[in-house]
């Protein structure tokens, strides 16, 4: 199982029956592959559909039905088309049960940075600021480190996405929860020790006596 699959499988476990969930483009979009069907989960694509389905078979694409990354998708039975005002009304208005986003940094305050590297990369925030501010639950799905540097840091050095702390961080090494005003280590990835996680993390983590391995 590679790093991405570990993360996607673990995030999928957070999704329970009947939820409305927004998956960001890239790694987060893989999560849908590991959510059992028949659970009545609806996925929102913020570009305008509730009830996002799988990629269509070749020859059955519709140029009017894409996800936020521009890729062809399908719509499940019971899907609804929405315009951008309704889409972000749902997001900002607290109707979205969970959002899963990628991240550049998360810090001890639980705050996320994921839209800009000053002087290097300015993709823009797109819907991320609304998603992190408005969703009932915010899950960050990302690699634990980039180029050998911890992405879980004492204080974000990159521009923040929102003041609102995220709820959960799932990486290839660990699951971290933001609680009681700080980050706590909740689970470790298969074959990864608590010491491995701490060594790869510059942020201070609360570590309970027992840290179970992810059950994937």
């Amino acid at each position: 199982m590679d790093a991405k699959e570990i993360i996607a499988r673990r995030v999928a476990q957070e999704i329970t029956s009947g939820m409305l969930v927004n998956l960001g483009i890239g790694l987060p979009s893989l999560v849908a592959n590991y959510v059992p069907s028949g659970r009545g989960v609806f996925f929102q694509a913020e570009n305008g559909v509730i009830g996002l389905g799988a990629r269509p078979p070749e020859g059955m694409q519709d140029p009017h039905l894409t996800d936020a990354g521009g890729g062809f998708v399908t719509a499940v039975p019971g899907a609804a088309s929405i315009d951008s005002a309704m889409s972000f009304g749902i997001i900002r208005g607290g109707h979205l049960d969970m959002t899963v986003l990628g991240g550049l940094q998360v810090d001890e305050q639980g705050q996320l940075a994921n839209w800009k590297v000053p002087g290097k990369m300015v993709p823009g925030m797109g819907g991320a600021m609304d998603l992190v501010t408005g969703a009932k639950r915010v899950v960050v799905a990302m690699q634990h480190a980039a180029k050998g540097e911890s992405k879980i840091v004492p204080r974000c050095t990159l521009p923040l996405t929102s003041l609102r702390p995220v709820n959960l961080i799932v990486t290839d090494l660990a699951v971290l929860r933001f609680e009681n005003g700080g980050l706590a280590l909740v689970e470790r990835a298969p074959g990864v020790s608590v010491e491995d996680v701490l060594a790869a993390t510059t942020a201070r983590l609360a570590v309970p006596d027992v840290v179970p391995e992810m059950a994937l």
Partner: protein
């Protein structure tokens, strides 16, 4: 009643320097023939308000490549490296706006609101230069309305009263932009006789639409 017009006639209405709202999300739901006509007439110095700039060769990306744009108000440019390069080179001024804020600012401009209060962006770079308003429910950013000289919409169906429908994720910003410009031009895939779109099927009432583009040849 609207007589359908040609794309080049519409493009000729839009002067250099105009502020133009353009529908679409990564090129889906963007009036592609109108964009082509603006490129063909060598429009210059446009201020484009849109969700994104798609990618090179598609939708608003074509306007970027052709040098038609001097200013952008968008939420995302990450998938068009050309836009990023022109921004860094100082050729295009870019205002980045959170997507939900962008659509509400356009809506506010369209429905006559003086602004909206949003929690989005509070305490981030998106707050820069903005008033923070305190209400009994907390602190919010005051976001001001956006209006365009023109709105260019991609529709699915139009009728000759100007009523519009949209299809699936191709609607995105289009129905909101229909409210927020002095002159609204819709490029539909099909044009129906008046009465063929039932009242409950209309998403954008024809009274908001000034011109309908004729069907593709």
């Amino acid at each position: 009643m609207k007589r359908a017009i040609r794309c080049d006639v519409a493009a000729a209405m839009i002067p250099d320097g105009a502020t133009v709202l353009i529908g679409g999300f990564m090129g889906v739901g963007t009036p592609e023939r109108l964009v082509d006509a603006l490129v063909a007439r060598k429009a210059r110095d446009l201020c484009i308000v849109a969700n994104d700039t798609a990618k090179a060769g598609r939708g608003i990306g074509k306007l970027i490549t052709a040098g038609c744009v001097s200013r952008l108000v968008v939420s995302h440019i990450g998938l068009n490296p050309e836009t990023q390069a022109k921004m860094i080179a100082g050729e295009i001024a870019v205002e980045l706006v959170p997507q939900g804020t962008l659509v509400e600012r356009i809506r506010a401009g369209g429905v006559g609101l003086g602004g909206i209060l949003t929690p989005t962006g509070l305490g981030t770079e998106a707050q820069e230069g903005k008033q923070v308003i305190e209400t009994p429910q907390g602190r919010f950013l005051l976001e001001l309305p956006i209006r365009g000289d023109f709105a260019l919409l991609a529709a699915y169906q139009a009728d000759y009263a100007g009523n519009l429908t949209y299809s699936l994720t191709a609607q995105n910003f289009n129905p909101i932009m229909a409210l927020a410009a002095t002159t609204v031009i819709a490029e539909p895939e099909a044009i129906m006789p008046i009465g063929a779109i039932p009242p409950d099927g209309v998403k954008t009432p024809g009274v908001l639409v000034d011109h309908v583009i004729e069907r593709a040849a």
